[in-house]
């Protein structure tokens, strides 16, 4: 493995997490991850060394997801809405409380419009800067921060204001 491949493999857990944010169903998410890795390998000469590989791959994943959604629509397949089963508590999580909490967060995230959900995931889950996230989405930074603000407002209402947190 060369350094590009090594760095890409190290990103796999995060790519799979982002794929879950986009695709929900574990099998669909792994297909999306696979497609992203294949495309990244094909286009590796387009990646500029010294820039972040994660932002670059998230951009490839998002575009792959858009292509996939279009292909499904052409074939008359309806994109699966988040199913209770797919959003059920993570069985490998350490405690019941953590499992219930993760489930509530994932449900709230699932309910966001896709644009807001991706903006929230890139910045608040993946830790990209505003500029990096805007570049990944190929939108101006003001568009990114506006999607982020709307997503945050909805999540705050769902997860914090209605909870009885101190």
């Amino acid at each position: 493995l060369d350094s590009f491949q090594t760095e890409m493999l190290a990103l796999l857990p995060r790519l799979r997490r982002m794929a879950r944010v986009l695709a929900w169903e574990p099998a669909d998410a792994d297909d999306l991850t696979q497609l992203t890795v294949e495309r990244a390998l094909l286009r590796r000469d387009q990646w500029r060394p010294g820039t972040r590989l994660d932002s670059w791959m998230f951009r490839i994943m998002r575009n792959a997801w858009i292509d996939e959604a279009r292909a499904r629509q052409r074939h008359g397949r309806v994109l699966a809405p988040p199913e209770a089963g797919a959003l059920a508590a993570d069985p490998s999580a350490p405690s019941l409380e953590a499992r219930l909490e993760a489930s509530a967060v994932e449900r709230a995230l699932a309910a966001l419009p896709e644009d807001q959900r991706i903006a929230v995931a890139l910045v608040l889950i993946e830790g990209l800067s505003y500029q990096e996230a805007a570049d990944s989405l190929e939108v101006p930074i003001g568009t990114l921060t506006s999607r982020l603000a709307r997503g945050r407002a909805t999540l705050q209402t769902a997860l914090i204001d209605q909870g009885a947190q101190p």
Partner: protein, 63 residues
């Protein structure tokens, strides 16, 4: 001090210029309302950091 929501978000996300980061950091001690808004956003970030965490612990399938 009136701080717009977007500035609170940018503060929590570490996206403000250094002087603005310092200004808000200093204001937290004397402005409980602002401190609550900042803490709410920090709580949201902590909650989200656990989203889909299970997939991070799995061994990925061979690519």
């Amino acid at each position: 001090m009136t701080v717009p929501d977007e500035e609170v978000f940018a503060f929590v996300d570490g996206e403000l210029p250094a002087e603005d980061m310092a200004r808000i950091e200093a204001a937290l001690a004397t402005d409980p309302q602002l401190a609550l808004r900042v803490e709410t956003q920090r709580a949201l970030r902590r909650l989200l950091s656990g989203a889909h965490a299970g997939v991070m612990r799995e061994t990925p399938p061979e690519p």
